[in-house]
């Protein structure tokens, strides 16, 4: 068997057979979902239901409207207080209130009404906004009454709105909401895979160096073969993991579709998933995802391999050398967030053309539609440049790797590594 294949096979099998691979394949999607739903849940939970005493100096509020508002909206609790107003101001916390507001004696026609919520400790903005909204809804009802607006007119006022939706004439299926969602997910998946598997490449190279097997290996195969074998082997591990996730998602989707057709929540999810399938060019997105995943992986992991070959056993040395590379990946994510909100802007364009950020940024743009948002020539240029980019980094890394893998001693600087790269063999 070809030696490169042997190396790829070993790198692949030793990783896929590990328990940690199986565990991480199952755990990662669960953790990812937990993170999304968990943070949503926690954010909801953390806004506290405030009990607020309402002291009315304007004479516009009354007990009934305040009590009614509590029924409509339970995010906070308001209580209309008439008796013992001064003692409420003094002892609100011992009376079970978090604070009190005094509605000033104000003319309801004036434009601004500043009301202060007085508390004995600082509360989160979410909780305060809840109280504000509630007071406003009471206030609105008051205004409607004063102005003599009946229920029907009110409904016309409240619900009768213009809603604006964008339709790209070159790509009628495009939907910015769905596209940015899919774009985000794709870009973050690539981001995670680049960082996680990139550092695996670095650790793998460091292992070979510190175990001193590197010298045995390079007496049988070219150093470049060894490096490339490792990178390809690990990229196949990443692909395997990704394919397993797709299979999981597909199976779960079909099970929920079949078993929970009756329930509203599930059919909502199914409908929105189908909406994604109809609005987005799934084969193209999948193809681009595969391409940018591999392209980006080769681009970055060869740099990580070069770093791994240059340092010794010390993990901190590796981290400090890897920091600039990791920063590039994180920087790409920052560009990506801007690109999603303005997918045809300059930043999005350059970010998706230049190789270091293109795997993440272009992948966030593609779901918006090709050629509607991303013209074919941009996609082609980005792909060609990414290929050229990883050929260059792999070549550069190969040179450093060849020298670094047999070099023990102090950590080289980037300058010395550049010297290794440019010296003749």
């Amino acid at each position: 068997m070809n030696k490169s294949l042997l190396i790829i096979k070993r790198e692949y099998l030793t990783r896929v057979r590990k328990k940690t691979f199986i565990i991480s394949t199952i755990m990662f999607p669960l953790l990812y979902l937990l993170l999304i739903f968990g943070t949503g849940y926690i954010a909801k939970k953390t806004s506290k239901q405030l009990r607020v005493a309402v002291i009315d100096s304007s004479g516009l509020f009354d007990k009934r409207t305040v009590a009614e508002s509590n029924l409509r909206d339970s995010s906070s609790y308001l209580e209309y207080v008439t008796a013992n107003q001064d003692s409420v101001k003094q002892h609100f916390s011992s009376m079970g209130f978090d604070g009190y507001v005094v509605i000033p004696a104000t003319d309801w026609r004036s434009e601004e009404h500043k009301v202060v919520l007085r508390t004995d400790k600082t509360h989160g903005i979410q909780s305060i906004v809840g109280v504000q909204n509630k007071l406003n809804s009471i206030w609105n009802n008051l205004k409607y009454q004063k102005l003599g607006i009946d229920e029907q007119t009110r409904a016309t006022l409240d619900r009768n709105r213009i809603s604006l939706e964008e339709e790209n004439l070159q790509d009628k299926g495009a939907n910015a909401g769905i596209a940015s969602g899919v774009g985000y997910i794709c870009a973050f998946l690539i981001y995670f895979i680049l960082l996680i598997y990139g550092s695996q490449v670095m650790m793998g190279v460091m292992e070979e160096k510190t175990n001193r097997i590197a010298e045995v290996m390079v007496s049988s195969v070219r150093p470049f073969q060894l490096m490339l074998g490792k990178i390809i082997g690990i990229s196949l591990v990443a692909l395997t993991q990704f394919l397993l996730w797709i299979v999981f998602a597909f199976v779960i989707f079909n099970i929920t579709k079949a078993s929970g057709a009756g329930s509203n929540a599930v059919s909502g999810i199914v409908a929105s998933a189908q909406d994604i399938f109809t609005r987005i060019n799934i084969p193209l997105v999948l193809f681009c995802f595969g391409f940018y995943l591999l392209g980006g992986f080769f681009f970055y992991s060869s740099l990580y391999a070069a770093i791994g070959s240059a340092v010794n056993e010390d993990m901190r040395e590796a981290q400090s050398l890897a920091f600039p590379v990791t920063m590039l990946v994180i920087f790409s994510i920052a560009i990506m967030t801007a690109a999603v909100s303005d997918p045809t802007g300059d930043l999005a364009f350059w970010g998706s053309i230049i190789p270091f950020s293109s795997p993440i940024v272009m992948m966030a743009r593609v779901p918006f539609g090709v050629p509607g948002t991303v013209p074919w020539w941009q996609l082609a240029l980005s792909m060609v440049l990414l290929i050229a980019g990883f050929v260059l980094t792999t070549w550069f890394a190969g040179k450093i790797y060849r020298t670094g893998i047999l070099m023990y001693g102090k950590k080289p600087s980037w300058k010395e590594m550049a010297k290794w790269a440019f010296k003749r063999s």
């Binding site: 042997l6 175990n211 001193r212 045995v216």
Partner: protein, 311 residues
């Protein structure tokens, strides 16, 4: 006789030092060749050029009479570096199989040969163990097997006995002799001179990147002899003054003399015989390789281990 390996004017300069500076030597097939030198003399660089890990800056390497082709010829070389290494998490059998296949063996040939070696070195039960479970001596044996399993023409061993107990040392030494007898050529790098004297046919001594000695073990000892003789007596030594020698050392039943220039050992013996002491033995004292090594290397500034190794 055609040489198996010939190095001609090899040079390899690194940024701050001449690691190998114009070294030539040749290795006869089937011989055990010693490459000696103090730490940092350039041995490892020299070996790395022969194993195709480094390209020489200038000079040629001939392997079996043809220019050395790193890509093809590495399969006919087995190399055990001084800094040994194995993949810690791999099973021993798989590890050996992997390294053997990288040397060009097919899966089935590799399996068969590895099993043979494992039986020979009493390692059969190790197949499914992991490398990290092995003791240092055990992993050394495994490393030796992976070095020789593909029947290489040239076997390069860098300090093969370091870390081995005397029993395992002997096992490996016997295998080295066996391999040489079966036609393999062995290039043996060390600074343990007593082993060299025991094992090697021919030696090359390098220091500071230059070759300073190239001879068979016998020749070297002849070349560096100082005309010392030990004369054994039955009883108290009786040594008269005579111009043909000077006494170096007097012992209980023997003396060591140094023959003066212009005289032969026979003159000395005749002179001694005339005095009538009962002589029981008369031997020439040849220097050990250790003495030669120290004489040649000593005085050069404490080798080069503190130089900057940036390449």
């Amino acid at each position: 006789m055609n040489n198996l390996l010939e190095a001609r004017n090899l040079k390899k300069y690194f940024a701050t030092q001449k690691a190998v500076d114009d070294i030539s030597f040749s290795v006869a097939p089937g011989s055990i060749f010693g490459l000696l030198g103090p730490n940092g003399a350039g041995k490892t660089t020299l070996i790395r050029m022969i194993t195709g890990i480094f390209f020489p800056d200038s000079g040629d390497i001939l392997f079996e009479g043809k220019p050395f082709d790193a890509l093809k010829d590495v399969e006919r070389i087995g190399y055990m570096p001084e800094e040994r290494g194995l993949y810690k998490k791999m099973k021993i059998g798989e590890q050996a199989l992997y390294l053997a296949q990288l040397k060009g063996l097919s899966h089935s040939d590799a399996t068969r040969l590895i099993r043979q070696w494992f039986v020979k070195l009493e390692m059969e039960s190790w197949w499914n163990k992991k490398v990290e479970d092995l003791s240092k001596g055990m992993s050394q044996k495994l490393q030796f097997v992976t070095t020789v399993v593909h029947n290489p023409k040239l076997i390069i061993l860098d300090e093969p006995f370091s870390g081995l107990d005397p029993v395992n040392s002997n096992v490996i030494k016997d295998e080295i002799f066996n391999l040489a007898k079966n036609g393999a050529t062995i290039l043996f790098s060390t600074h343990r001179m007593e082993q060299v004297e025991e094992i090697c046919d021919h030696i090359v001594l390098v220091n500071k990147g230059k070759k300073i000695l190239d001879a068979t073990v016998k020749e070297a000892r002849q070349q560096f002899k100082e005309g010392l003789f030990r004369i054994g007596f039955d009883g108290e030594p009786i040594v008269p003054d005579h111009p043909s020698y000077s006494v170096i050392k007097k012992e209980e039943q023997s003396v060591v003399v140094k023959i003066a220039e212009g005289y032969t050992s026979n003159t000395v013996l005749t002179a001694l015989l005339q005095e009538g002491g009962a002589i029981t033995s008369y031997n020439e004292i040849l220097p050990s390789l250790n003495d030669i090594f120290i004489e040649l290397v000593e005085g050069t500034p404490a080798t080069r281990q503190f130089q900057n190794l940036t390449a």
